[in-house]
């Protein structure tokens, strides 16, 4: 019979504590006894599942080409940005490489320029000539005070997806739409009460009045923004006010827009309304087409796409929404190696082709745009060459200047849009109030610690 080498009775406090101690020692040995993989190790944090899956497939190729280098991919999902913030605050535990989402980057830019936790990539980009190879306006969301903290993962051009069958049934040929005025005229014709019960059964467009997403896209399309390049608040500019007046008029005056069903455009409720034929069009970035394909495959063949209507004839026919960057943190011990991994995951043509195939995301690397996949007909859009449309719009991406106060500003902008659409405030009042609040916030901080 097995007997413990120590008499369990003589062990202080008996057998139980002794077993616990043995288990503790074994688990300690197991945890600390693990040997690190030999060679150079890099940690790469990701928050998006689709990106993670892509890199899982691509990174082993890089590792095979570069023996001795191990890239550890960690997908933290939605909690990643909070973990990164904690790691940067404690100056410990940050990864070497990390992807950051466009609405989250602002908070990482707070404080003195030298306290920003990302490496300035401008010298590398300029010396290797990458600036010219990418769509230059897409560096703006990841740049601040002259430094570039990230490489854009995407462009996210926006198109107008529409129900060709239902617009045609209303006697409208959407390919003839050029401006927003044209769209309003068509929208009034297509927004209809089909059964005569006094209620609208189909709306020309669905727009989000809960958050800044659609309004801000329209503002960017016109070259506006929340902050300008120098960091000044410009959300109460005449351009911003006119855009919000236009936005609210689509709901209240022209009555051709319905608020998004559920909490955002990707809500099952919104998809249900689409399937019911309640929604005839939607402003869709490239990634949203990927979501539609995966979430409502049964609508294949029902959607078509055109460039966004312009504000004026000959004006910009697209905008941008969303985005991700990759950056190297200052805690990275081998930034040269991290830079090589970065280039492989972001500038490698087969990887970018694969990205479009799975997510419909158009890369910012211009040399990848001639890949045959971008010319292929898209079954989901009834055989339309969606890639070609996106590529045509890609060079015209508007700038979206980044600012450390974006998160606070966006939170208040959501409220301002909702107040304007629900007619609690006029668009002018809502945006003037908003701008005053954000300016006061910035002034208070500057009063405390001076200009940064």
């Amino acid at each position: 019979m097995f007997r413990l080498p120590i008499d369990s009775e003589s062990f202080p406090l008996g057998k139980g504590p002794m077993v616990m101690l043995v288990l503790f020692l074994i688990s300690t040995l197991f945890i600390f006894g693990r040997t690190e993989e030999e060679g150079e190790n890099l940690e790469f944090w990701i928050f998006a599942n689709t990106h993670y899956e892509e890199y899982q497939a691509r990174v082993p190729i890089f590792e095979a080409q570069n023996p001795g280098i191990n890239v550890q991919l960690i997908n933290f999902g939605n909690t990643m940005h909070d973990k990164l913030l904690a790691a940067m605050l404690s100056n410990f535990g940050a990864p070497d490489l990390v992807e950051v989402e466009i609405t989250s980057i602002g908070r990482f830019l707070k404080g003195a320029i030298d306290e920003v936790g990302f490496v300035d990539l401008r010298p590398r980009l300029e010396s290797e000539g990458w600036m010219e190879k990418l769509v230059v306006s897409r560096f703006t969301p990841w740049s601040y005070r002259g430094r570039i903290y990230g490489i854009p993962h995407d462009l996210h051009p926006v198109i107008l997806l529409y129900r060709d069958d239902l617009f045609k049934a209303a006697g409208i040929e959407m390919t003839e739409i050029e401006t927003w005025d044209d769209f309003i005229a068509a929208g009034k014709q297509a927004t209809r009460d089909l059964d005569g019960d006094g209620k609208i059964d189909q709306y020309a467009i669905v727009l989000d009045r809960r958050t800044e997403s659609d309004y801000f896209s329209l503002l960017l399309q016109q070259g506006g923004g929340f902050f300008d390049e120098a960091g000044n608040v410009i959300i109460d500019s005449e351009l911003a006010i006119e855009t919000l007046e236009f936005f609210t008029a689509l709901f209240n005056e022209h009555k051709i827009a319905t608020p998004v069903y559920g909490t955002w455009h990707g809500d099952p409720s919104n998809f249900a309304a689409m399937q019911d034929g309640k929604i005839l069009s939607i402003l869709a970035p490239d990634w949203y087409v990927g979501i539609l394909k995966s979430q409502v495959p049964q609508m294949s063949g029902k959607w078509k796409a055109i460039s966004m209507p312009a504000w004026h004839p000959g004006g910009r026919r697209t905008t941008t929404r969303g985005g991700t960057m990759i950056g190297i943190t200052k805690q990275c011990e081998n930034p040269d190696l991290a830079w090589e991994v970065l280039k492989f995951t972001y500038f490698d043509r087969p990887g970018l082709v694969n990205r479009y195939e799975t997510t419909r995301i158009i890369p910012p690397l211009k040399s990848a745009w001639d890949a045959p996949i971008f010319k292929e007909p898209d079954v989901y859009l009834g055989g339309q060459r969606l890639g070609e449309l996106f590529i045509k719009l890609a060079p015209d991406m508007p700038a979206r200047y980044q600012n450390p106060y974006w998160s606070e500003g966006a939170d208040l902008l959501n409220d301002a849009i909702f107040a304007a659409v629900t007619e609690k405030q006029t668009p002018r009042e809502a945006l003037t109030d908003l701008a005053e609040k954000v300016r006061a916030l910035i002034a208070k901080d500057r009063g405390r610690w001076g200009d940064l």
Partner: protein, 316 residues
Amino acid sequence: MEGGYTEKPLKTPIPHNEPQGIIKNRLWNQQQKIAPYLFIAPFYLLFVIFMGYPLISSLVMSLYEMRGFQSRIFVGIGNFTDLFRDPIFWKSLRNTAYFAVGTLTLQLPIALLLAILLNSKFVKGKNFLRLAFFAPVLVAGVFVAIIFNLVYDQRAGLVNQEFVLFGKEIGWLNEEKYVMPAVILTGVWQWAGFNMIYFLAGLQGIRQELYEAAAVDGANWWQAFIHVTLPSLRPVIAFVFVVSMIGSLQLFDLPFILTNGGEPADAGSTIVMYLYKNGFQFMRLGYAATIGWVLFFIIAVISIVQLKLLGIFRDE
């Protein structure tokens, strides 16, 4: 000898006539003195590391504001004065109070009713029903929020499938006035069964003789409930009341996911959600710490008032 430990006979007799035995004996006595402290040490050690230090640190932090990632600036009570002038804080406080009142007035009576039903002789399948009502609390708040996102779905949700029959398609999570009722109802679904267990335990502890005496005195069911059940349940009611109030004031994950961050127009924003936004989304850690301390004082004051009103401090 001090303490009661040595009064118990030891299993192994210690030899007294050898020098080695004397040393062993001394060691044994020493470890008997130290052992109790060693046993409770992990709690105090963990408390100091994970509670004491962060508490003091957050109090200090509330007097500062982060300037960037590495430096901060002393602002004194500036964060507190800013907070009391912050309209979003007040709105979050109102929403939180709305939820707390909704929870106490809706959830607790339902929990008590369920407990009474499951305590009665006439209900069959009590074990199954107990499990069924208790089960929602085992589901993580995040999943509850996801489930109820579908339940409140404007087009195809379970709730609107009923209401739509009357010609009304309610945007539960899309219209300001419906957001908090939707959150409260979700809270009822998740927590009523949990509180029911406390009430059930309380009901089972009431002596049957009291009901028999009430019956002899001619009391009907309602009178017995008012004069026997409720007074006997007072400690349980007080406990559930206070714990539910504290939980309500700390509400975060449910509305955060259900309303996608408190929108529209901060209708779903709560104090803890506003704390999270300031700390993690706006990187205003000093302000977030201030919100945390103000919340602590609110909870402490309300809890003490509740306990006083419910007579928990009363000598009987």
